[in-house]
Symmetry: C2
DNA sequence: ATTATTCTCACTATTTATGGGTATTTACTT
DNA sequence: AAGTAAATACCCATAAATAGTGAGAATAAT
């Protein structure tokens, strides 16, 4: 028997999902909450296997709820319900260790299947979601080929990104610090960024780290 | 009929894969190459639907081959063959727009299926691979919770990462630049990093950007 | 009500980074 | 042989960041 707690700011959604899950003998909706705060409260006293969590909620959104769960040391399998399919968002969820994420327009079968998987500690991300994650990862590249950086410049970017200053880089490469300075200037102008921060950003977005 | 070009630095692997693919009527191995450079040469004159590409090769590795393909404007569906299952690596592949990636110890069926999918322009990443990608994404978080940053500090980190300097941040937040300076100092010491570069790195690794 | 944290501001001093030049040597291309 | 790109090096000047120290005011927590 899988005990589920439903969290959504709309009672109709809660009722709808409840009625769907009622049909399944292996799942029991033990409680529900209309706010994140309420969910956290109930999770402290109520044994729950799967937390069915809406993302878009006023005041405390789903992500914040998960963060609080971590802070309080409450361990529960989380299945996120979301309407949109944003990649940046998905990334965050995965990084938070959320077990699963399905779109709100998923069918009854998908929902029940997902709850079962998540309750076993397995990961479930609907195809649309992973697809959008891949898409977002794809975007980043390209820039490094657009900008004509020399080998030496790439080398120096990496060293800058690893927190070395001009002198340290000069020592490591056995060249004058003046030369490193020149390279820095050229890099900044080639990348069209204002300062070190922009440089490190570029390094990150182009996997030079 | 799917035309395949096999690239691997071991002739035995090429022969092995060839013999597997021979059994399938819809796939034809048109040629093979033992080095990345040779593969690039052959791709210019030979019509190929799917490039079956080994990653670990001396001199020019698979990733570099894909980069060169982009540079030369050669468009071909790439299916990567890999032995290990490294996440950082997978990320790079996805970012390069590689259609698929399967482990060398995959079975015959998986391989043929993957080639078919990739030839249609669809994406195929074996489960192990995506799993490891998820794992790596999960690791990054935590740090932001470990370090006790205040709201203001997080706010300032974001502004620094977007290439604003101290004065610009002060203007934007309607506070003195001295205050921003103090925050910067506290942030650097809390994060235990040496300079701006380390700060921006932290921002990136913790999705504060 | 008291404590603790956070946010705020200031001063000095030093180190680093940035922006503007110029110039030489090497290696590769045509 | 001439031209070009890359790596090297130096100068000057200014802007910005880092380090150290101290301290008042607002807020949240107990």
């Amino acid at each position: 028997m899988i005990r589920v707690l439903i969290v959504d700011d709309h009672q109709v959604v809660i009722d709808g999902i409840s009625s769907i899950l009622e049909d399944d003998a292996s799942i029991k909706v033990v409680d529900s909450a209309l706010t994140g705060a309420d969910a956290l409260r109930k999770l402290e006293f109520c044994a729950v296997d799967v937390l069915l969590l809406d993302i878009n909620m006023p005041e405390m959104d789903g992500i914040e709820v998960v963060r609080q769960l971590h802070k309080k040391g409450i361990k529960v399998n989380v299945l996120i319900l979301t309407m949109h399919n944003n990649a940046q968002f998905t990334k965050q969820l995965i990084e938070l260790g959320v077990q699963g994420c399905i779109l709100k327009n998923s069918g009854k079968k998908e929902l029940i299947f997902a709850i079962n998987e998540v309750s076993q500690g397995r990961r479930i991300y609907s195809e649309d979601v992973t697809e959008s994650l891949f898409d977002s990862l794809e975007k980043t590249q390209n820039a490094v080929d657009q900008v004509q950086l020399t080998k030496r410049e790439v080398e120096i970017i990496k060293l800058i990104a690893s927190e070395l200053n001009t002198n340290e880089i000069a020592e490591q490469l056995f060249i004058s610090s003046h030369t490193v300075d020149t390279h820095r200037k050229n890099i900044l102008s080639k990348l069209g960024v204002k300062n070190l921060a922009g440089l490190v950003k570029f390094a990150y977005e182009n996997q030079l780290v």
